[in-house]
């Protein structure tokens, strides 16, 4: 076997034999920018809800978010079924789901506070505490683990100067361990806010961290280990 092709545009994952850009791998070229008010109700519950800018005290569900909230309600036979999407929406605005947020969501959906808290604490993607601008979640489950994920996790902690689960002093990073992200063929798989960073190696970590610091989580431009493209 001759050399195995390896290209990783923008850390979107190895494209191997294929000639694809980061936008194509991530689907951004196809999806474009979806409207804040939710677009068609069928997909209104699927937005990215981990954004860089967060407003922890922000009003819940006003303006375009009100429109999205109402669209979500139209898709289910019960109000309760809107609970997960609505908590997602709240987290998109506020960055985390506080007990106050849970209570407000409960009022809006006519659910008891106990029920909402029971649900919100069951699911790991609801941040119960504020997190940094970039929430870095490193998969250390088996497939990534076999390929060095624990070292990648250590490298992220080192280069962001944080401890596991804590937020860096400048508020930029929170680094946590996460269970399998279903990117097992692209180890190590890291989720940073709403995006996957794949085939991340220890050597790539400083560049990813610097990139996030400088340019935010917008589109990364990299062609993989060989250098900046």
């Amino acid at each position: 076997m001759s050399k195995i092709p390896f290209k990783n545009p923008g850390w979107a994952g190895n494209v191997g034999e294929y000639d694809l850009t980061e936008e194509q791998v991530r689907g951004i070229d196809f999806v474009g920018v979806r409207p804040l008010e939710g677009g068609h109700a069928a997909g209104s519950a699927t937005y990215p809800y981990m954004l860089e800018e967060k407003d922890p005290e922000g009003p819940l569900f006003e303006g375009p978010y009100q429109a999205r909230f109402e669209k979500i309600l139209t898709r289910y036979p019960t109000k309760r079924a809107a609970l997960l999407p609505v908590l997602n929406l709240a987290q998109e605005i506020r960055g985390h789901v506080s007990p106050q947020t849970m209570d407000r969501v409960g009022e809006l959906l006519e659910l008891s506070s106990a029920h909402v808290r029971g649900v919100a604490t069951f699911y790991t993607m609801y941040n119960k505490r504020p997190v940094g601008r970039h929430l870095v979640q490193v998969c250390t489950n088996i497939s990534c683990n076999l390929c060095g994920a624990e070292d990648v996790l250590k490298a992220f902690l080192h280069h962001t100067n944080t401890e596991m689960g804590a937020t860096s002093l400048d508020g930029a990073f929170t680094v946590i361990e996460v269970e399998c992200l279903a990117g097992c063929g692209f180890p190590t798989c890291v989720q940073i806010n709403s995006r996957y960073y794949e085939n991340v190696t220890v050597d790539e970590v400083p560049r990813i961290v610097a990139h996030l610091r400088d340019k935010g989580a917008g589109l990364a431009r990299s062609t993989g280990p060989e250098g900046e493209g």
């Binding site: 191997g16 068609h40 309760r80 069951f122 390929c147």
Partner: protein
């Protein structure tokens, strides 16, 4: 074709357009023959569609391998004459891909969203479902955006909605995003989650076909199962049987991860030799190191030793014969540098984290197994611990509502049986037989 690498032995049906960005647009999909099978199905009676799926022998791709046609036939029939009185029926698509080692559904969502939508619509027609919910795992933001956009395009083109392709049928499709819980991949856990509850599995019976989502007749299928439907309905049941074995017909996406040169998804006929998958399709082991163990079906099935793996045929019955299960065909390959004890401990801690806590054997068992394995890892283990682990995991098998508890028993028991020397080296001499 395989992504990110292809191979000449592949039979690309579901994966034909992986890596082709044009295929995810509606026009691109139509140019590639998309939605012809849906037209064909809408001109057939629902019963006839179910018969085609039954004839194909397609088995559920989520892990259990239950025959899809049979599952569909459990749904109560909707009679046209009594239309007004009929309860709503639901079809759920399980895109909560979270079994460690599995990464096929993400590729199906992001490269061929219309293939899945077409499969969902055909399934909804066959079972009289008026609403399809596609439950995507919350982490899949990017893939979910692609799917949501494709659904929007489908509504705009009249393929989804009040009058599907002018047939007079009303079928809605909603894309739902979960919030991070492995257990929501269990079918009744998923239903609870969709209903806005904790994703705790339900006691069966009643089965979902009688009392499912929102208390209504419901069928739930994996992404890969539904993605195969348009091809089966378009080409016929017998066509699908030209690949695979009598008991495992068709093709399957194999997710290969771990210590191979070319990891990725490959679509192969069922029954393909595991040896060829590793050494030919995936280009062999990284740095040509020796193989130590293979997990053939995601982290919840027993490990195979290198020797067992070499004779294993990758079909449902073949993997059982070799001593494990095909599961969702997530092949995790481990070479000689692998520290088996550490990896099993990592798997156990995963299941402990993901246990929903309803059943005592699982809640307590997963936690204790992890604690004992951690103790062995830290060099404080005793030989009695191995017997304790076997005893505890035996009590965790078949004693709970769902199979999460059994899932931790599989890697623990099989590793103690097949790699006992690794445990003993660590316990007796503090020596690790793997170095990774």
């Amino acid at each position: 074709m395989g992504y990110p690498y292809s191979h000449e032995n592949e039979v690309p049906i579901l994966s034909k357009y992986f890596g082709d960005p044009e295929a995810r647009t509606l026009n691109g999909w139509k140019e590639r023959g998309g939605y012809e099978a849906l037209k064909k199905a809408l001109n057939m009676s629902p019963e006839d569609v179910v018969e085609i799926v039954k004839a194909s022998g397609l088995r559920g791709r989520g892990g259990a391998g239950f025959p899809t046609g049979l599952k569909w036939s459990f749904m109560p029939k909707t009679k046209a004459s009594a239309k007004a009185k009929v309860k709503p029926h639901y079809l759920l698509c399980n895109a909560d891909e979270s079994e460690p080692g599995t990464f096929k559904d993400r590729e199906l969502l992001r490269w061929a969203p219309h293939q899945l939508i077409e499969g969902c619509l055909i399934g909804a027609h066959a079972m009289g479902a008026q609403h399809v919910y596609i439950y995507c795992r919350g982490e899949f933001f990017e893939a979910t955006q692609v799917l949501a956009k494709a659904v929007e395009d489908g509504y705009e083109a009249g393929i989804i909605g009040d009058d599907v392709l002018g047939s007079g049928k009303k079928i809605d499709v909603t894309v739902f995003a979960g919030a991070g819980a492995y257990i929501c991949g269990e079918e009744t856990g998923l239903m609870n989650s969709l209903e806005g509850r904790r994703g705790e599995p339900r006691v069966k019976p009643p089965f979902p076909a009688a009392v499912g989502a929102f208390g209504m007749p419901t069928t739930i299928n994996n992404v890969e199962t539904l993605a195969a439907i348009p091809h089966i309905v378009g080409n016929g049941g017998e066509w699908y049987r030209q690949w695979g074995s009598e008991k495992s017909p068709g093709t399957k996406l194999f997710c290969v991860s771990g210590h191979v040169k070319r990891p990725g998804n490959y679509e192969l006929p069922l029954g393909f030799p595991l040896k060829d998958l590793i050494y030919d399709v995936c280009g062999g082991m990284i740095e040509d190191r020796a193989l130590k163990a293979v997990i053939p079906g995601g982290s919840s099935v027993p490990l195979l030793s290198a020797e067992e793996a070499m004779g294993c045929a990758l079909c449902y019955e073949g993997v059982v014969e070799a001593g494990s299960m095909l599961g969702c065909a997530s092949v995790i390959v481990m070479d000689e540098t692998t520290d088996i004890v550490h990896q099993v401990m990592r798997m156990a801690s995963f299941y402990s984290h993901e246990s929903c806590g309803q059943c005592t054997p699982c809640r307590e068992g997963t936690a204790w197994v992890t604690t004992i394995l951690q103790r062995i890892e830290d060099g404080r283990g005793t030989e009695d611990d191995l017997d304790t682990l076997v005893e505890v995991t035996e009590q965790m098998t078949g004693t709970t509502i769902c199979v999460l508890s059994d899932s931790v028993a599989a890697p623990v028991q099989s590793s103690i049986e097949k790699f006992r020397d690794e445990y003993l080296a660590l316990i007796r001499r503090g020596e690790r037989l793997g170095t990774a």
